[in-house]
Each structure stands twice: as C-alpha cells, then as structure tokens.
C-alpha cells in the first residue's frame, strides 16, 4: 500500500504515477468485464485520456473533458447519451474506488 500525501499528489504524475496507472487499469478491467467492451475502450481512449484525478476535501474526484459523447462517437462508437452517461458515471466511481484502495484510504 502506498502512503498518501495530499501535497505530493499535487505533483501526482511524478510521485504517484504507478499508483494512478494501477487504479485506472484496475477500473478498466472491472468495467471491461461488466460492460460493452467497445464502449469501455472508447471511454478509456477518448475520454479518460483527457481526465485528471484530483484530491479535494479529503476525497478523490475525476475531472473529465467536455463533450464525452462527441469524443466517443468520433471514435466510431455509436452509443446514446444515456447509456454513455450511465457507463461513464460507473467508470468514474470505479476509478475513485480504486484510488482509495490503492492509497489505502478506504476506511476514511
């Protein structure tokens, strides 16, 4: 388990890069098993590639780019907004949970 230091998280891509990768990868695998793989891949490649994990007020939050629906459909994946929104919400929840787990903050 990695000790978490909110200050170091400001420079997260230097100090916590491996942990961030692990959290995203675990979330990806969970989502890929449970949901439409093509959609999960498109979210991974076209939406989360512009995402940023933040730590604010004692909690993780995933900042997402605008227009995720356009991003996914531009990648050739046809999906209605509702389905995308539901899947993306679940995906973000999963990443946040993985971040808490990776940094052993589950009990806080």
């Amino acid at each position: 388990m990695t000790d978490f230091d909110p200050e170091k998280f400001e420079d997260k891509y230097v100090h916590y890069f491996a942990e961030l990768q692990r959290a995203y990868k675990n979330a990806f695998e969970t989502m890929n098993d449970a949901y439409d793989s093509e959609l999960v891949h498109a979210i991974d490649q076209r939406v989360l590639n512009e995402s940023e994990p933040l730590y604010e007020d004692g909690a993780f939050r995933i900042d997402l780019p605008e227009n995720p629906h356009d991003r996914v459909t531009d990648a050739g994946v046809l999906v209605d907004e509702e389905k995308l929104s539901g899947t993306l919400d679940r995906y973000v929840d999963e990443i946040e949970a993985e971040l808490r787990s990776v940094f052993d903050l589950d009990g806080e």
């Binding site: 961030l20 995203y24 990868k25 979330a27 990806f28 490649q45 076209r46 590639n49 995402s51 990648a75």
Partner: protein
Amino acid sequence: MAHKRPTGAATPRSGAEVQRSKTVRRQTVGMSTEAQDGDDLQDRITNFLRRNFPQIQMHGGSAAIQNLDRETGEVTIMLGGACSGCGISPMTIQAIKTRMVKEIPEIETVHADTGMDGGGGGDAGGMSPSFPGETTEDDGDAGADEGPQAPF
C-alpha cells in the same frame, strides 16, 4: 552464404523493424529537414520518454514522436502497441503531457494519442512493442554511438 536474404521476410511488424534498424529518418513530419541529424531536441524528447516512462515498454507498448514543430514548441507523441487498450494509457498520456512541458522548456504543447481517431478499432496498428534503442543507457549523448536512434 550468398545472398539468401528472404525477400521481405515480412513479419507483421516489418515497419517497426525498419525503425529499429540503424539510420532511421524519424517519423517526423512537419519538421524541417535541416534538423534531422543531431537533432538535440528530438533526442531529448526520446530520452525523456524512455527514462521516465519505461512502463510503456514494460506493458508491451510503444511511443513515437510523430510530429515536432520546433517553431511552436508543439510535439505529437503516438502511443501504440498494447498501449491502445490496456487501461493505463490515460494516465500515461496525461503524465507525458504534464511532465514534458515542465521538463523540456522548448516544448509548449504536447499532443499524445493512441491512434484511436475515428477508426473505432482501438488498435494503433502493429507498432513496435518496445522502445528501439533501449540499450542506450544514459541520456546525455544519444548521438554519440549510433547517431539518432530510432524514434522509440
């Protein structure tokens, strides 16, 4: 011993194999030819990626400089191989973007992508699964041994 060269001995990665071999004129587009040899900035970018992101290689992926505009300080990095579908590319891309502009002053903007641009396939198309030139240990003088190394 004659010339038994199997023509084309084409493996699916023949393009990547070519990159790996000696004198590669990188895949840079939009960069003036004058800078192709001894391009310090390009070497520094390559070394920056190799040094800071060995995970790409370890996960069976690759990274190549696709475009470098020295005037505007804009660089495009293409991640390929396993990077295009393993769940770690989002953070890899963000880390490359964030760190490169901080650590290489000439770079103002970084575009990094896995090549999933409208094709919908999610596969970047058989790029090399490793960093060619990985045997180069340090980053100070990439031009000293084999000249400009393959672009990752």
